[in-house]
Symmetry: C2
Subunit: 629 residues, 2 copies
């Protein structure tokens, strides 16, 4: 059926179900959504379950949008004139994708008004649907810039979404029924995640990352299964770490034209980390594989989905994200293929334990035949200490160092572990388990933390409650001090006993090297590893006992400071949690593939799952294709 | 390196090694060969080991060709004038690919002359290199037409070979090293054989067959690994049965432009069977997937190789054919990838037992890491009776039938089993084990037999000796009578007790239906199945006991004649032979893949090989990709 005929048919069906007096002027596919244009958005909203009923009957994600959206600048003025001054509006974000205006205010209640009266007034005035959120306690430059950029390309983006919408809703033509997964990276290794999910109709790339510590660690993107890249229907990201998303912009350089799906938080973190990646790569005198132009292209073509939202991303594939508990916005990507044909999930990196930041990964799915799970800690002996033990050990190390007048350096990834350590230290000081010294944040940690406070809905309920109901936002604690100039850094190095959390996490460059340069010679100081140190990195060498590290033209650094490694802060499930997760999966899958672990871990986990649960398992190699059905 | 530079370099190396006084005017890649053009072909030939030394040092297949080849018509006249009349020249075939002229003569000795004098005279006169063979005892129309056609397109073909030659000898550019196999058909099923062997440099398709008894049984040729088809470097055929080669011409319809490799006998049989396939398909009112034009295209782009000849078919892949013992020209395709990187063989259909026609399949290879083996009779209970027992049973059935005044109908495939049964019957009569009645051959059996006598080098030594040294060609026995008109067929049906061997082998059409129509009602007659009857075919139904078979508008046939099934004439290895073959493989491979068998057989064989020999085995599904290295 021609797409125009299909839209006509959908419009007729909608008109049948919509009460008389509500006008439906047009329907259109925009990205994964079916948009109903109307002169009466308010009346639509008043019909309690109308949109839900339409969504269920048409099996589409339905959005209702007014025919005329007032010009954002004018609309902003009108909002300000309607809302009382005391509301403290700090920003407004008009999202043309959704017809919504996000109003950030210090007192959201004032914007909403008694029984929502102010909100209704706004709607009547401007057509845009207002959503009100509390102004994030720490402003994120990244988020601000992303929103500005998306506003500037809204016309292009609308056209893009319309094209993609029509592509998603094309007819299914093939009579064959099969589902395949091709491994393009991340098998029997950690890094360069990239998996191709394909059917006779569609091709979906899941993740597209770099391999840390390797200059040639690009996924196998040149093989015919995926090349040319414009044959891909979509890229689906599980989370924002660079080994999962660093090379997404590269796809646009080589001809990809489709959308990249992720959660909103993953999109913002990914853009931040990609831009930083470009800077690091070019500092290392390597050729950056792409430029910020391609990052913009990615942003322009990104489509964000929240957890739990079932979304058509191809004629025969529906995607649903579920919490993965690993970092902010991290998701398990669940694909429903065909009309009940097959269900397959990619865990991405996930944590089945609860952390200070996040709840444990989802283990319940409506249906599930196959799951690809990570096996970073999949080896039989990869048992991590409990979170509590790790925290006690950290407190002890901090106490020892501060007492003897030293400084603590904690190298950490900007996203994930840094925030977990921050929360641990903040609580330690609040409960007097460690002295109230300054915790300096250097590198992108502050910015990453700001993005965390922009998306509080991803944090676990206790932390959310602490922030919003108890008014005790631990990230805002006085102890945290941002280092944003070489001068301040010098002061920190020469100053009072303190704690420094800084990037890079594996000592492969970044401000941590400056701190080492200034502090390594003094044995009163301590270097604490809280994350995995990959082979070949400076971090691993120091862990192994190197006593002198070369710094190029600047000579070398002598290592006298104390070295400690504290396991247990990981964002990954350890071996016990992995096995428990498989055991708790509901429904129990028919097949489990173990990926994202070194050869031994992947094989060991696969073999143990088979032995314990009698589920068919594979530890695939790169460049293989498995038939699911 | 540019290909012109490489040719220049090769020419220089050759000039260094060639003795002074021998002229090398040009060197050129033509298909897989390096052709040296010279004014002095004779002097080249006189330097005993020169070509061998060049081939070894340059690691190329070397052909020496005179600069000027006389026009074939003129040359033919001159040959006739030089050779004494008594030689009985029946045909001459000028092969511009090789610069050879094949002289077929009833008395080859007369063409050669005393100590080869006549032959040398010919060379001096015409430039072409003469090869003399005995005139095939039965003339094959197919072979004649193929040779005529190839002569008519020799200029196009030369250009094609030059293009392919340059493509084969292009530089290897990728730094990655991997070898993959993708299964496009024939996994956990019998039929539609098609396997893609790929490296970062090259893509080779092994076989491209139809699925018998299924109208939709085409390999998965639309998947991106193989599409577009002009990205394929070559197609390599194992043998001529339609489930391995029927769809090769289709590849040219959909954009393939490269060469198809096979043995010479496979090429001729394949063309014969493809043309017959087109006729059968169009008789069945189905749409033929291609026309005779595409069969010609295949022929024009075919390149033939003999057993044991190591041949470059891609920059990083060498192909060597080995005897498979299944049908005339059938081969195991052995691929040597990279410079010692990997060795993988595809058995095609093979027989590890000796038959009247062929020697057993090769089990010795210079190197071998992986082999794909058929598993038609791979199930634990797929034990076939011995050849001897099968023959005795056939003799007994014939005796019973003839004695009671009946006729024997033996439905059989034109290629393979028919000839085996013919040889059995001929010997039975010669040794007086059965009465000397006529054996009528209907359908393409005679033509297929003629092709067998054109390529005696493929037959086993005993049969060759019997034909050429003992002068007793069993195929020429008086007992065999070709049926080539409906009138003769009527006479056979109404005539004396006799034996009828006829197609199709599974009673899915063809002349066998006429014989059934005329002979099925009489219980004195007997129908003997000597081959596998696939599910859904009329043969299987009758085997199961159907007593009446519908014939469309012509009403139905009542089955009163006796039905017998005689196993043991198969061209496939049975379970015991398969296990013995794996055991005898030298070197022992690291991996065995079982294909070309129904699901149970493939899995059972894979599991038994693993249990017995501790070799890694897989029974792959269609549409999977396995990484070899």
């Amino acid at each position: 059926m021609l797409i125009e005929e299909r839209l006509k048919e959908l419009k007729d069906k909608i008109n049948d179900k919509v009460p008389a007096g509500i006008n439906v002027s047009n329907v259109e596919f925009e990205g994964p959504e079916l948009v109903i244009y109307t002169d009466d958005p308010k009346k639509f909203a008043d019909e309690a379950d109308l949109i839900k009923v339409l969504a269920r009957d048409l099996r589409k994600r339905i959005v209702v949008r007014p025919n005329v959206l007032e010009d954002p600048e004018l609309a902003a003025k009108e909002i300000k004139s309607v809302v009382p001054d005391g509301a403290g509006i700090t920003d407004m974000f008009f999202d043309p994708d959704t017809g919504e205006v996000l109003i950030e205010a210090e007192k959201p209640g004032v914007v909403i008004g008694k029984n929502g009266t102010t909100l209704r007034d706004i709607t009547k005035e401007i057509g845009w649907t207002p959503k009100v959120v509390r102004t994030p306690p720490i402003e994120s430059t990244t988020v601000k810039q992303i929103r500005q950029y998306l506003r500037s390309v809204k016309d292009e983006r609308k056209e893009f979404l319309r094209t993609i919408g029509r592509r998603i809703h094309r007819d299914v033509t093939s009579k064959d029924k099969w589902v395949r997964v091709t491994t393009l990276g991340c098998c029997r290794e950690v890094g360069r995640a990239a998996f191709l999910l394909s059917t006779p109709e569609s091709k979906i790339l899941i993740d597209c990352g770099e391999k840390p510590g390797s200059t040639e660690g690009v996924p196998y993107l040149y093989v015919p299964e995926i090349y040319p890249l414009n044959t891909l229907d979509a890229v689906v990201l599980t989370h924002a770490h660079l080994d999962h998303c660093a090379l997404v912009p590269l796809l646009y350089r080589y001809g990809f034209e489709g959308p990249v799906y992720s959660t909103p938080a993953t999109r913002d973190l990914a853009v931040m980390l990609q831009l930083d990646y470009l800077e690091v790569v070019s500092n290392e005198a390597n050729q950056a594989p792409y430029t910020s132009k391609e990052v913009q292209e990615y942003l322009k073509k990104s489509i964000v989905l929240n957890y739990g939202s079932v979304t058509d991303i191809a004629p025969d594939i529906k995607l649903t994200y579920h919490n993965a508990g690993h970092i902010l916005g991290s998701a398990i990507a669940h694909f429903h293929v065909g009309d009940g044909l097959y269900n397959i999930a990619f865990s991405g990196d996930f944590n089945y334990g609860k952390t200070r930041l996040f709840g444990p990964a989802t283990s319940q799915f409506p249906r599930l035949e196959t799951i690809f799970v990570e096996s970073t800690y999949g080896g039989a002996n990869d048992i991590q200490p409990s979170k509590k033990d790790a925290e006690e050990k950290l407190y002890e190390a901090v106490n020892t160092t501060i007492k003897r007048g030293g400084k603590v350096i904690i190298p950490a990834f900007a996203v994930g572990r840094s925030q977990e350590v921050m929360l641990t230290l903040e609580e330690g000081m609040r409960l007097d388990k460690i002295p109230k010294v300054k915790v300096y944040l250097d590198g992108m940690i502050k910015e990453a933390t700001a993005i965390h406070t922009t998306y509080p809905e991803y944090l676990n309920p206790e932390l959310r409650k602490q922030i919003f109901q108890d008014g005790m936002n631990p990230f805002l604690s006085d102890c945290f001090v941002q280092v944003d100039s070489p001068a301040i850094r010098e002061n920190v190095i020469g100053g009072e006993p303190s704690i420094i959390i800084t990037t890079s996490g594996m000592l492969s460059g970044g401000p941590v090297m400056e701190y080492l340069n200034g502090l390594a010679a003094d044995e009163k100081n301590m270097l604490i590893f809280v994350g995995y140190q990959a082979d070949g990195t400076m971090g691993r060498r120091i862990q192994k006992g190197w006593k002198e590290i070369p710094m190029g033209r600047r000579g070398s650094i002598v290592i006298n400071l104390e070295i400690q490694t504290i396991d247990g802060f990981s964002g990954h499930s350890d071996r016990n949690q992995l096995m428990r997760y498989i055991n708790h999966l509901n429904p129990r899958p028919e097949k489990v593939f173990t990926i994202h672990g070194d050869e031994k871990s992947a094989i060991d986990l696969a073999s143990s799952i088979y032995k314990r649960f009698r589920i068919e398992t594979h530890a695939p190699r790169n460049l293989e294709t498995y038939r699911m059905i």
